[in-house]
Amino acid sequence: MNKKQTFNLLSRVTLFYLIFTFVVFYFNAKFLTREADEFIDSDLNRRFGWLESRVQYHLDKGTPADSLVGNSIKKVEKVSKRCKKTEYPIVEDVTIYHSDIERNLIHRRKIILIESKGQLYRVEMDKEVQNYYYFRDDIFDYLIPSFVVLIIITVAFNVLLQGYFLRPFRRILEQMQLFKVGKSEDIQEVETMTKEFVEMQNLFLKMVKRIDADYNHLKEYTEDVAHELQTPLSIIRNKAEGLLFSEKLEEQDAKVVKTIYDEANHLSRLGTTLNLITKIDNREFTDIKELKTAPEIDKQTEAVEELAQLKSLTIEKELHQEHSLNIDPYLFDIVLKNLLKNAIRYGTSEGPIKIKTTENTLEMSNYGKPLSFGKDQLFKRFVKGADNDQSLGLGLALVAKICAVSKLEIDYKYERHQHIFILKG
């Protein structure tokens, strides 16, 4: 069977939670970084604006350009009026080596043109921004470790919760699995304070009660039917048997009585078999175990060997000793009996009845004429060979039913004059 991979609920919730948190963290960090960038830009613009106005003021006052150069103003030089004004202002970040601290630091450089008294000046301003960037990058540096811590805490919680909160859930599942029809009293109620689990458990208990009630009604009904039918049938049959051997009975009447006797037999078998099918449907056979088939087949074939011989049929076996099926032994007994009965009834002496088991299949075949009806009819109730009015027409229906409830596969084919039944576990 193709089994779909599954994950437990909490792990999935955790995974989704973490993915979601990751997205939130990521966009949060992005947003904060952008905010920081904006802040840095506006702060620097404010500072550069102030420097610019100071330079303008001093130049207008007639202060020599060179004396304006200081900490933040790196260069003030005259330029020709013909220079390309559109290139300015130039804003760029540059890395500058500071020999005193032996480190590279990032500086923001802004170059502008200032016009004073008809002369154009090119003013180069510079501001160290390394600390701003450190501050900005700290956002990521803090958010990533806190996300990792969150992952660890969440996973640890998940593991703990799996054990603690989900324990009642597992116990309830266990009870569901162990539940066998007709044995609801064996179910132990699981103590839990989780509302969903309480609801689930209540629902399960209610269902179990209903299933059990249905099961018991049907069981009672079939048993009652069996009892109420079989007792009168017993009487009819015994009385008919008594009449059959009565000295006073005319031969013609004896034939009538014989018919009554035969039909009572037929009815009785019919009742028993239909009842059996109902019981199988009702899953009253729950003694399911791994059953080695070889000894069962030996036992059954030994019992019918003589019946086969009387029809000049032989039974050939080729048994794999390890072949086994998961089935109630009583039901397997019925399957074998019916398949054998079928093979003996319809088999012709053209060749032997063959029973072969391999590691995972059981095959039974007999020679005979092809079916007089469709293959799809074979396992249906009351379908039987045209030349056989003694048959109940229920044997293979019974086999099919048992296979269905025992999750076995039964198949039929007709090949080289042989009817072949294949049973797979």
């Binding site: 079989q230 009487i235 048997e241 008594g242 059959l244 051997f245 019946l307 044997g395």
Partner: protein, 225 residues
């Protein structure tokens, strides 16, 4: 031999009584669980035949009750239910054998008699009919002290006849006795004839007379030669 039949259906009771009438048995009948318990507590029975479906309760109660009072009593359960649960519970409670309705009267008699042998006549296990002797413990048949070689089926058949002397046995009843479930849908019971023929031949060869009579092709009867 004293037998208590616990069965609520009067017709079936009548048939069983008739069936057992020539078996040198004292048969008493009751139809209710309560009456059965009364009888059991007062009298001692060799064999109790109990139907499980009774109007005032389950026959299994009686089985339990008998085994408490007199564990030596042979108990044969009659069940219409064909329910394995009942069979298993019955046998667990101490029942010795069970028979499922509808049963052939001859089958019931054979079971009762075989139960009686197992329970009471521990020393003498030899059945005699004319010159034929069957030792049940060793499953051997002798005619005039000569051992007769029989197949398992032939032996079972002969024993069935022994338990139902002078009674008509239908082919169906014989087939069911010999093959049980395997025969329940048998097409044709003529194959019984082969076994009867072989058994007859073996009996006659050793000097036993014509014991098995066929009755209008419907059945057979085991008679005095």
């Amino acid at each position: 031999m004293k037998l208590l039949l616990i069965e609520d259906n009067p017709h079936l009771t009548e048939d069983i009584l008739k069936g057992l009438s020539d078996q040198a048995m004292t048969v008493e009948t009751v139809g209710l669980v309560a009456d059965a318990k009364d009888k059991i507590s007062v009298y001692e029975y060799d064999i109790i035949v109990v139907d499980l479906g009774l109007p005032d309760g389950n026959g299994l109660e009686i089985v339990k009750y008998i085994k408490e009072i007199n564990p030596n009593t042979g108990v044969l359960i009659v069940t219409a239910r064909n329910s394995i649960d009942d069979k298993v519970t019955g046998l667990d409670l101490g029942a010795d054998d069970y028979i499922t309705k509808p049963f052939h009267m001859a089958e019931l008699i054979a079971r009762v008699r075989s139960l009686f042998r197992r329970k009471k006549l521990k020393g003498s296990t030899v059945l005699e009919h004319g010159v034929i002797k069957i030792d049940i413990t060793s499953s051997t048949v002798k005619i005039n002290d000569l051992v007769l070689e029989l197949t398992k089926k032939e032996y079972d058949l002969l024993l069935y006849f022994f338990y139902n002397k002078n009674k008509m046995l239908t082919k169906e009843s014989i087939a069911e006795h010999l093959w049980g479930d395997h025969i329940d849908q048998a097409d044709n019971f003529d194959f019984i004839y082969t076994h009867i023929k072989n058994l007859r031949k073996k009996l006659q060869k050793e000097g036993a007379g014509e014991y098995i009579k066929s009755v209008y092709g419907m059945g057979y009867k085991f008679v005095e030669a």
